[in-house]
Symmetry: C2
Amino acid sequence: MDAIRGGEHMTGRPTIKEVSKIAGVSFKTVSRVLNNEKHVSEETRRRVEEVVARLNFRPSQAARMLAGRRSFQVALLYDNPSPYYVYHIQAGAQQRCTELGYRLLLQPVDSQAAGLVADVMALVDEAHLDGLILSPPVTEIASLLDALDARGLPYVRIAPGIRAGAGLATTMDDVAAAREVTRHLIGLGHRAIAFIPGPESHVSSANRLRGYREELEGHGIAFDPGLIVAGDYSFTSGSEAARKLLDGSPKPTAIFAGNDDMAAGALAMAHERDIAVPDQLSIAGFDDSDLAKAVWPPLTTLRQPVRELAWAAADLMLGEHTLGSQLVLNHELKVRMSTGPARVKPIT
Amino acid sequence: MDAIRGGEHMTGRPTIKEVSKIAGVSFKTVSRVLNNEKHVSEETRRRVEEVVARLNFRPSQAARMLAGRRSFQVALLYDNPSPYYVYHIQAGAQQRCTELGYRLLLQPVDSQAAGLVADVMALVDEAHLDGLILSPPVTEIASLLDALDARGLPYVRIAPGIRAGAGLATTMDDVAAAREVTRHLIGLGHRAIAFIPGPESHVSSANRLRGYREELEGHGIAFDPGLIVAGDYSFTSGSEAARKLLDGSPKPTAIFAGNDDMAAGALAMAHERDIAVPDQLSIAGFDDSDLAKAVWPPLTTLRQPVRELAWAAADLMLGEHTLGSQLVLNHELKVRMSTGPARVKPIT
DNA sequence: CTGAAAGCGCTTACAG
DNA sequence: CTGAAAGCGCTTACAG
């Protein structure tokens, strides 16, 4: 016998009818007050609100969903291995939804699963969703986008890759951001700058690589494939990539990793080999995750406005907007101690 | 005009009545099949299930909540600044709830807020919750526990401090765990072992301090208040505590921090002062968070079964249990490179 | 094993 | 500005 049985816990719950009786109005009028509709006299409104507060009345979401055309409920879909990323995406979306009177369902999904589209549509039906927020890489599943479009269901994407210009979206400029990091390293005198891109499944990987390359070439530095070793956004992959780069040729004086986890991996490899950072090797990351400030030396990185992207996504979908359907948010270079002038002490 | 208006998206949604019509039975029979009730002939069941699958029918959660006595919906309350902790607590609870057919609402709260109890009870009413999972420090709010008890609402607590023996709970033994870490350090020859406890608001802080102290005294090593400097579980506070410890007297040969964030902070301070870890100073953490493996050298720490604690909490509340109402999960010491033999090279 | 009736607590659409 | 009726899509309690 499980603990949930019995269910006598609905005891105290008042309903709209009890409120209306005490306030001396019809329950329809209480409904008007609750929904902030026009055409309620100031005095009636005040009286109803007083009773609502006194009884601690909260309308049943289930009844509203069933009777009304809107559920005031949306879901955030995510499938990201980074606790840091998920935490902040959740926080941003949650905050804006709460402010706007929506409940947000936080829904982890498996973007590789065959049944993904069916599962999401099941959620849409069961929960009567009014809309969806998609975070990468759920943003890249064409069949899901098609199903949502066919259904006419509103959704916003955060940092989408495919169909980037279509529909509602919030993004940052990965290309420009990667150029900034690269420019910072070039400015410190580095010429042999290695880059560790992320996995191909993420659009951000290709965009950051492109920014790195464009900036190099803008400064007349030839792109050298020997300085590129891909990772998969994990710490371990960053470590392995750094090992290959340090063993390869040409020897880099700086490593720019596509995210902070990989930068931390590269940094660990430098420590393991007694390579001084930044005196012998500069290392830069991307994201400005919690990790960036927790390693030694703290990482130079590019702050991605994760929380803001999710906040703005919710706002774009649920708020009162006339301005547009796409929003590009600002990033910011964070210079810390892991980058410094080139070749103070060459690697031996 | 916002994107959500219009709401023509319910178009395709089939109902239980349409299913029943196609299957040639009453809609009550469909309901029986959906709820896995007895007394449905095998053939009828099969026919209904076939139609359900073909139409991709999903029952409205709202209608079930309204008509039934159970909502099949529970909430996880959390108020923890650690993305790592929140991510794994969510994952564990989410998994078990999904397996058992419950929807889990992930609800961040402000445990310091005056209106907390009212807000939670509002959630209970609005969402018709069948139960709640409380994670630290939400577990410690007596007024909330009282309100839930008064309402007769089932809840489980993860690692509770107050009223620890009462009600449903999953925990780990912080005292024994801290003793294990301390024993490891003593076994390496350390005698001047500093400890950085967390904030007093968390019960785990006091328990880990107690374990540290008990183990020392069990080995005939006097407890020295000069080797205790408190932090608040943050990286920065760990760094500051380490600074004071390294400047104070007696000089520690090992530092045991109450969590990994503070251990990482202590490690950064050692790097800043060019103190070799572990040759001159051993550092141990607690949690085995992602951080533990991302810093250099990787931290010796104690694995707290965060995900399992949440999984078991959901299971305890929703599953079929007869065994008991409290569950103590196992922890595990993870020895990595940040700890080593004492005084190989004394700090100068 | 199966079904017809009543009702959950609200919103909608229609009156006045 | 306010109200009475109908109904959302299910489960419950009662019959057969």
